[in-house]
Symmetry: C2
Subunit: 333 residues, 2 copies
């Protein structure tokens, strides 16, 4: 109900929507409309009500609210349901628990704050309250586990496209799982999966975006940035979440069509920050890498399986997602 009211009011823009027309399009009583509008006001939505004119949405609070995000999604969107938390340990952990209990594909867990946000390999991911987008989407892709590494790349592409559409900021993908703006990290992606030999139970795609962060700790100021710092404007986080989900839907459908990235490869490579640049391949864990495990080369882009093609002294190597880390040799990207 609230989802539908918000959708109707938002579509009306500056115009009033009469109570009568709200009742009709929602198929409910005036009292039900009034009650839900009151609840929306309590949740921080500024909704003007004028006799004989009706209702008008003046302002949306900068708080994540499930029905609001849902009201912005198209009916074909792969995101079907949103679970919103004020605070949670980790959206990935919660999404995995839901998936274990049989939650279907398309449920998105979002949180204002994560107290134990996760980075890759159990590293901590800082997730400040109310300034970021911390979200995890449950997927049940009908593909083999070996094809699942593409999902991280698809999510990266969707985030870059969403940022472009909503914030008009050019962002780039740092293969395989980061998004950078002006050489600094703005988003990280962590895909986790539960599988058998030849069957994926579920995958959870965790996306963490530095949206409205005003300032980073000094030690990471040269490595991290936010959409606010890059654009000077507060980002509409709910709008960005919806835009990313829509972009993800398009990419995910193309991926399922072929089971690989052949339909997305070109678009991905156009957004690849490492493309045609010198990169270092660090074999093994980054922390453990010594000089003997580092190789230099020029990154050419990904192939249809998501592997990064790097031209080295020994010819073009196909770097399988996850086998190595790739860093630009000058600075962070």
């Amino acid at each position: 109900m609230k989802k539908k009211i918000l959708r109707v009011l938002r579509e009306a823009g500056d115009h009033f929507v009469s109570g009568q027309s709200l009742c009709e399009s929602l198929g409910v009583s005036r009292q039900a409309v009034w009650k839900n509008i009151s609840q929306l006001k309590e949740a921080g939505y500024e909704i003007q009500s004028v006799s004989n004119k009706g209702y008008r949405l003046i302002q949306t609070p900068d708080r994540l609210y499930g029905p609001d995000i849902e009201s912005r999604l198209s009916s074909g969107c792969c995101c079907k349901k949103i679970e919103c938390h004020e605070q949670i340990d980790s959206t990935n952990t919660r999404a995995k628990q839901l998936a274990e209990s049989g939650e279907p594909e398309g449920t998105l867990v979002v949180a204002e704050e994560q107290t134990a946000g996760k980075g890759r390999r159990g590293r901590r991911w800082s997730s400040e309250n109310s300034v970021g987008i911390w979200m995890s989407l449950i997927l049940r892709p009908p593909v083999k586990p070996v094809q699942a590494s593409c999902i991280t790349l698809i999510a990266a592409l969707a985030v870059a496209k969403g940022i472009q559409n909503v914030c008009q900021i050019e962002s780039y993908i740092k293969w395989p799982n980061d998004i950078v703006v002006n050489g600094k990290k703005i988003c990280g992606i962590l895909t986790e999966m539960s599988s058998e030999l030849d069957y994926i139970h579920y995958a959870v795609v965790g996306i963490g975006i530095n949206a409205n962060t005003r300032q980073f700790p000094e030690e990471i100021q040269d490595k991290a940035t936010s959409l606010y710092l890059e654009s000077g404007k507060t980002v509409d986080r709910q709008g960005l979440i919806a835009a990313i989900m829509e972009a993800f839907t398009t990419c995910y459908q193309k991926y399922l069509q072929t089971g690989d990235l052949s339909l997305l490869q070109e678009e991905y490579n156009a957004m690849l920050v490492n493309r045609d640049r010198e990169v270092r391949i660090l074999y093994g864990m980054e922390e453990e890498a010594d000089q003997s495990q580092i190789e230099q080369g020029i990154a050419h882009g990904i192939d249809e399986n998501g592997a990064l093609l790097v031209e080295t002294g020994q010819g073009v190597k196909s770097i399988v997602s996850g086998e190595v880390s790739v860093r630009g040799i000058y600075g962070y990207v």
Copy 2:
């Protein structure tokens, strides 16, 4: 304590072990020994106690008992701890829950009965009370997710070797995850995994063995058999579990040494029921396969990555574990 008492008594065989010597080797009081022996008797262990002679183990009950299985394991065994259940939904589900909570590698969950035993792809696995071996081992292998498919093959090899050692029955491996005796299934293996792109959180190897089943329902009598039916003897299930864990340890170490099956390939192929036999490759799910998805060929054995090499009309194909099903064209195996 009980684990140590059982080990000392079993090693003594028909001989008595004096209370004094038990106290000394365990470093505890006579009262503690007496108390633990009483508890073992309550658990069904027949232990003879004779004044001035000591204790002697007469008979071990056919019940799964954690300290007993642990008492049979060598100190180098990869199985470090046993959690024993009278009844459980599924040992794999329990092991996954433990692993999610941080349980280290080497914990084995065993149960007398599973009420919701799992086969591949969520199929049901029948797990009758007290006659089978239903167990799941937690692993945290330091390998990439793509290398994890080998774990099922290693477990199959370990089960076949364990059966050979304890029951003197020749069993064969039906690639990738079943063990057969005389053309009938005696064991199935279900490996599940939680992973990131390039990092395994944990793997759970579920092993289900028809040990002392006296009779199968008529509809599967030609497809399934038990160790009891094949040997005419009641199997010592605890001894078999221990033997499988020891065999698994050896194979697992060889696997971790190279990250593939190159050190185990020969031994595996010698036990492969499909070897040099005509097989059908069923692409897609078995239920969905139509004639157009079936190809025939001669199976030659596995390569070092665990793929099955099949000679078809179009040359030798490398069948990646999980991409297809392979059945003999005559009968079940």
